[in-house]
Amino acid sequence: MDEFLFLRQEVAPALMSGLWMSIRLILPSAVCGLALGVLVGVLRIYGNHFLKALVGTYVLFFRGFPLLVQLYLWYFGLPHVGIYLSPYMAAVIGFSLCSAAYHSEYVRGAILSIKKGQMMAAKSLGFSHTGAIFYIILPQAIRRALPGSGNELIYLIKYSSLAYMVTCIELTGEGKILASAYFKYMEIFMIVGAIYLLMVSLATWGLNRLEDFVAVPGFERIHD
C-alpha cells in the first residue's frame, strides 16, 4: 500500500510534468525540423551553386557532430560569443537543426527518385519551375520520404532525453531526480523506459496510419 501511495503522490505527478516537458520539446522540434529539412532538401537539388554548397556544408556538419556535442555547443558554447539560450530553447534549436539535416537527406533521396518526366510534364502544362517543385515534385517526394523521415521522428522522441544533459528537466531528468532522491533507480527507470516505449509505439503506429492515409491509389509502393 505504501508503494502505491508513493507511486501516486510522488512518482506520478513528477513524471507527468516531465512527460509534458518532453512533449513540449518533441512537437516543436519535429515541426521545425521537418519544415527546415524539406527546405534544405529542395535547395540541395534545385538551389544555385552557392546555396547547394551552403546547405551541403550544413548537412555535413549537423549529421557529423554527435547530437550531444551540438546541444553542448548551443547551451555552453554560444554564451562565449554573447548569445544566451535557455535550456529549453537550446534543446529545441539543437533538436530541430540536427533532425532537419537528416530529414533533408531523405527528402533529397526522394526527390532524386522522382522521374525526370514529371518536371518536364509539369512545365509543358505551364507550371513555373517553383510551381512544379511545390505542386508536382514535392507532394510525390514527401510521400516517398515518409518512411525515412518517420524513423527520424522516432529517433527524435528518444533523443529528446538528451535535453536533460543541458539541464532542461524533462521525463528522463524528472526520473533521475526522483530516483536519486528515493534511491529507487530500478523502479523509476523501468517506468520512464515504459513511457518512452509507449510514445515510440504510438508514433510508429500513427506514422504507419499516416503513410496509408496519404497514399495515392495507383501510386502505392510495394511493402515488404
Binding site: L68, F76, S160, S161
Partner: protein
Amino acid sequence: MIGNGWKEALEGLPYILQGTWVTLAVVFGALALGLVLGLVLAVGHVYGKPAVRRGIGLYVWFFRGIPLLVLLFLFYFGILGALKLELSPFVVAIIVLGLISSAYQSQIIRGAIKSLPEGQMKAARAIGMSDRQAIVFTILPQALRLAIPGWSNEYTVILKDSAVTYALGVAELMTRAHHVAARTYQHFWLYILVGIIFMVLTFCGTRAMAMIEKKVAIKGYSR
C-alpha cells in the same frame, strides 16, 4: 574572447585525443557484442519457431524503443545496484550500447538474409547440407557481405551515441572535452574541436568499411 580562445582550446587537444582510444574501444566493443548477439537474433528471427520470433521481436522492440540515456541509467544505477554488482562505467557503456546495437544489427542481418533468393537454401539442402550447415556455410557468408553497408551506417550511429556515455563519466572524447572546458572556459571552440574529431572518425570508419566491402566481394558475384 573569441580571438585567442581557439589557441587555448588547441592546447587541450593532446589530452582530448587520448580519449579517441576510449571512444573507439567502446564503439568496437559494442559493435562486436552487437554483432554476436545480432547474428543469433537475426537467424532466430528468420528461421526460428513462432514463439522464438515473437520473443526476438519483443527484444528488438524494447531496445529500439528506449533512449540510450535511460538504458544507461537503468543498467548502471538500477540493475547493477539490484544485483550488487560493481562494474566500471566503461564496461556498462559497452554492454548497453552493445545490447542496443544487437537489436539494430539483427534487423540489418535479417534484411540481408531475406534479400537472398530462396533457391540458395533449397540448393544447399538439395546437395545434402543440414539446415544448420546451409545457414552457416551458404546463407550467412552471402548475407554478411550484403550487411556491410548497413554496418557502416551502424558504426556511425554508435560512434555518435558513444558521446552520451559521458553521462556516466566514461573518459572518452566528450568527457575529456568537458574537463578541458571546465578548466579553460573555451566551451565554444572545444565542442567544435571534439565534433570535428568525431567527423574524422566517422569518415575513416566508413572509408575502411567501403574498402572491406570491396576486399571481401566475390568476383563475378555482383548483384
